[in-house]
């Protein structure tokens, strides 16, 4: 049974095929890793002070996290095993709800969580509309809405806004789950839609274009972040873009491979950053440095994961990216953008690893130079890091890697020398009627001037530059695709 049949209420159907197994195994493996980390790295009911920095949130974080994370994994499995769209949607919405609680457990995550919730809710409604339309026989518009709905979850370009905020504010293990597992359900959905024969051809190109744009845009945004978790979050946007490019271009196996790569690598990186935060109480790049000495294992694992993500040819993990790249051959413009994104990824990861682990030690306090987080994390990290090695194969595009690596290094160094600090993105608290009630109807209240003022300022500070950048990238993409 195709997972894209509309389904009927009250009947849950499930299906298993290779794609399902792929996503499911990924979910379970990362889930195990995250749990192990959480058991060790988060505080119990009588949690200590250090745990607050890593896990964030109030006392008793671990229990709450586990209570949320376990059903989250179940819901993810529900999504990927769903035999029809309705079943899928049911788990999808549950996932959205649980995700809210995951994000909400972070310190200062209120705004991000709320934004996440609304985005997911609207995304869910769009998805529902898509499902209904497909069920009603309008497979064209239905597919568009399905893509949009799944795209929201995946962090596809125009609807990615929630992702950096949520991923960076959530507690580290939650971020790992979010980036590693949850956004993959969106990708799973898009994959299913695009592999369905009923989907119009035109949508392949659309996904391809959006993916390409996202890959470049995310990379550029990530490059200018000064917060390690935000950097990783933007990197996720970029990587999702890469995967979507692959799906759109028809490089399906490569895409799935890259899904696995990104999931595991990003989980390791988030957990590593979490471990760093656990020790040092900050994730600001400016406050870190030289940690390779105190946390060598963490460093090694991060490096390993970073290399996998960059597409280091000796790792099997790079095969996916290579296949995606191959699918682009013959379209020079797309290849150019893809190259930019790849170089950007290299620069990002170099930046992360270099700023955190290399260089002079910035932390003068010897008291915090404690041992590493411990054997559990190491074991977990190894499991995760080993994933890309499961199917070792010889690289096929060593030159490409060298080129991207070179370009990325240049990019990183350039930024290091001259790079401007990107204006910090403030997460607006949405919507303002959330807790502060306005005068009751009848008659809708007038828009307060202060709110208007804030809106204008926000537009000038945050939205306008983003739009400009987006515009440039899209223009480039359109230009080269022509």
């Amino acid at each position: 049974m195709s997972p894209l049949t509309p389904g009927s209420v009250g009947r849950f159907t499930f299906t298993v095929d290779s794609v399902t197994i792929h996503f499911a195994s990924l979910t379970v493996l990362i889930g195990i890793g995250v749990f192990v980390f959480a058991l060790r790295g988060m505080s119990g009911p009588s949690g200590g002070g250090t745990a607050r920095a890593a896990g964030g949130g109030r006392g008793g974080t671990r229990g709450r996290f586990l209570l949320t994370a376990l059903p989250t994994l179940g819901a993810v499995l529900g999504v990927v095993f769903a035999g029809d769209l309705l079943t899928l949607f049911v788990f999808f919405e549950i996932l959205a709800l649980l995700g809210f609680f995951l994000v909400r457990q972070g310190d200062g995550a209120r705004g991000a969580a709320i934004r996440y919730f609304w985005t997911m809710l609207v995304g869910g409604l769009v998805l529902l509309a898509g499902i209904l339309l497909r069920g009603g026989g309008a497979s064209g518009p239905g597919s568009v809405l399905l893509l949009l709905g799944f795209g929201v979850k995946a962090g596809m370009l125009p609807v990615h806004g929630w992702l950096p905020a949520a991923h960076s504010k959530a507690p580290a293990p939650a971020s790992a789950l979010l980036s590693g597992v949850m956004i993959k359900t969106g990708i799973y959905g898009i994959f299913r839609v695009l592999t369905d024969p009923a989907t119009p051809e035109m949508l392949h190109a659309t996904v391809f274009t959006l993916g390409l744009a996202g890959a470049a845009y995310g990379a550029l945004r990530a490059l200018v972040q000064s917060d390690a978790k935000r950097l990783l979050a933007w990197s996720s946007v970029s990587q999702v873009g890469v995967i979507l490019t692959g799906i759109g271009a028809g490089a399906w196996e490569g895409s799935l491979q890259h899904v696995m790569t990104h999931a595991s690598a990003k989980a390791v990186l988030f957990l590593a950053v979490g471990a760093v935060a656990l020790r040092h109480g900050t994730v600001q790049l400016a406050g870190l440095g030289g940690l390779w000495r105190t946390m060598p294992v963490t460093f090694a694992l991060s490096l390993f994961a970073g290399l996998a993500l960059m597409g280091f040819p000796l790792l099997r993990a790079s095969a996916g990216k290579a296949e995606i790249h191959h699918a682009l051959e013959g379209v020079p413009s797309a290849e150019a953008v893809f190259f930019l994104a790849s170089a950007g990824t290299v620069a990002i990861l170099l930046k992360l690893i270099a700023e955190v682990f290399l260089g002079p030690a910035r932390d003068p306090d010897p008291a915090t130079r404690a041992s590493e987080i411990g054997g559990a994390l190491t074991a977990l990290g190894l499991i995760i890091a080993a994933l890309p090695l499961l199917h070792p194969a010889l690289p096929t595009d060593m030159p490409y890697f060298v080129a991207t690596f070179g370009a990325g290094t240049v990019l990183y160094l350039t930024w290091r020398r001259w790079g401007p600090a990107w204006p910090p993105v403030r997460i607006p608290s949405l919507p303002s009627g959330w807790t502060v009630p306005l005068p009751a109807p009848p008659g809708l209240p007038a828009l307060p001037e202060a709110r208007l003022q804030r809106a204008v300022e926000r537009y000038a500070r945050e939205i306008a530059p983003n739009l400009a950048l987006l515009f440039v990238v899209l223009l480039a993409v359109v230009f080269v695709l022509r």
Binding site: V9, G10, I94, L128, L132, G136, G137, T435, P439, A440
Partner: protein, 408 residues
């Protein structure tokens, strides 16, 4: 099964009929009444009228022709009125006056419509289809829309629902408004309606505007009342699509909504009674004081928004599927917008209650089991009806059977 009793006026008989639609409605009424029965005693008058209005609701459910339907419908309107003003405050009395003015005007329109229909087609039983002038149908629809709280004539709901005692609010929102929609369904069961573009427009407007107003309302029960206006407009919206599946969705929505909104109003009543909370802005930390109550509230809210697999989702899904089948894109959009608005006015309550600090700490004051159980039962029903939607004998099956009986 039908039973024809008395001839009330020449050619028009008191006529009872048991079909899927009526059984579903009556069963909903029965269970909802069971839920509102526990709680503090409120005196002879209250209990007598409560019982009376239950009987009359059953009458609405089992009416076999238009006249009988209208009869029970009007009597129910009147029987509910003393319940609304039960608290006898000046505010309640004002609300009661307004309620009566609205409901009676609606009744006048219904009667006129019935007269037009009777002149054209005689006794209109629900088993046969008849040809009647469009004017009659329009009048009847307009009359029913007063009770169904469609937009220009919704005015009684936001006043009457918050002012009534909590169990009565639950009944009003759960079933009283539904009788209007029920009447509309009965109408299209027997007559070919004219193009229902106006009904579509009006209900769409109602869904959206009432939802927007609900987000702007601080008074908890009033917000829930606006929510009722918005949510119950789904049913006429579904009717106006003229699709069998959408209709089934509309029918099942009546039942599902009854339990969800009924439960929410009961929760609101408990909040008021145990914590003295009337306003959303005062609800910070309420969930810490009354975790069970607010747990049920949260679940019911999620159900109302239409989060799967709760019952609210089932009705939304079935309505939506029907609309999609019929190619009614605008109603479908409105339907989803309504769900979004439901989230906009319900989730902040939940969020505030669970995550915001309480104004003053205090011990947990969850009500004693007899009062708490109905609320939890409503939540449980929401889950069961959602997950078990496809089981035979469940509302959805009955609604589909009913819609089959109606589908032209």
């Amino acid at each position: 099964m039908e039973s024809i009793l008395f001839e009330i006026v020449p050619e028009l008989r008191l006529h009872l009929r048991f079909d899927a639609l009526g059984v579903l409605f009556s069963a909903t009424a029965g269970i909802l009444w069971l839920l509102v029965l526990p709680g503090p005693r409120r005196g002879r008058r209250y209990e007598a009228l409560l019982a009376l209005s239950f009987v009359l609701t059953l009458g609405v459910g089992t009416a076999g022709n238009l006249l009988t339907l209208l009869m029970f419908y009007e009597l129910l309107s009147l029987a509910a009125w003393p319940l609304i003003i039960h608290d006898e405050t000046a505010e309640a009395l004002a609300a009661g006056r307004r309620y009566l003015a609205y409901v009676l005007t609606g009744a006048a329109m219904l009667l006129l419509g019935l007269a037009v229909v009777t002149l054209a087609a005689g006794d209109v039983g629900f088993g046969t289809r008849v040809e009647v002038p469009a004017l009659g149908i329009v009048l009847l629809l307009a009359g029913f829309s007063v009770k169904a709280a469609l937009l220009p004539v919704h005015g009684w709901v936001p006043q009457a629902h918050p002012i009534a005692p909590a169990p009565i609010s639950a009944l009003l929102s759960g079933l009283m408004v539904a009788t209007g929609s029920f009447g509309m369904i009965r109408l299209i069961q027997v007559m070919d309606p004219p193009p229902l573009a106006i009904l579509t427009g009006v209900s769409a407007l109602t869904v959206v505007l009432a939802g927007v107003v609900a987000t702007r309302t601080d008074h908890l029960k009033r917000r829930l009342a606006w929510s009722t206006i918005s949510q119950m407009a789904y049913v006429p919206l579904a009717i106006s699509v003229l699709d069998r599946e959408a209709l089934a969705g509309g029918i099942v929505h009546i039942t599902h909504h009854a339990f969800m909104k009924g439960g929410l109003f009961l929760c609101a009543g408990l909040l008021l009674h145990h914590l003295g909370i009337r306003h959303v802005s005062r609800m910070g930390g309420a969930a810490r004081r009354m975790p069970w109550t607010m747990g049920a509230f949260t679940l019911l809210s999620l159900g109302l928004i239409g989060i799967p697999p709760l019952s609210g989702f089932v009705s939304k899904w079935v309505i939506g599927a029907g609309m999609a089948q019929a190619g009614a894109w605008i109603p479908l959009t409105v339907l989803l917008t309504g769900a979004l608005l439901a989230a906009l006015y319900l989730m902040p309550i939940v969020h505030t209650a669970w995550f915001d600090p309480p104004p003053s700490e205090g011990p947990q004051v969850d009500p004693p089991p007899p009062t708490l159980i109905p609320v939890l039962a409503a939540a449980a029903i929401t889950i069961v009806l959602g997950i078990g939607a496809a089981l035979p004998g469940f509302p959805l099956a009955l609604a589909r059977a009913a819609a089959r009986g109606i589908g032209g």
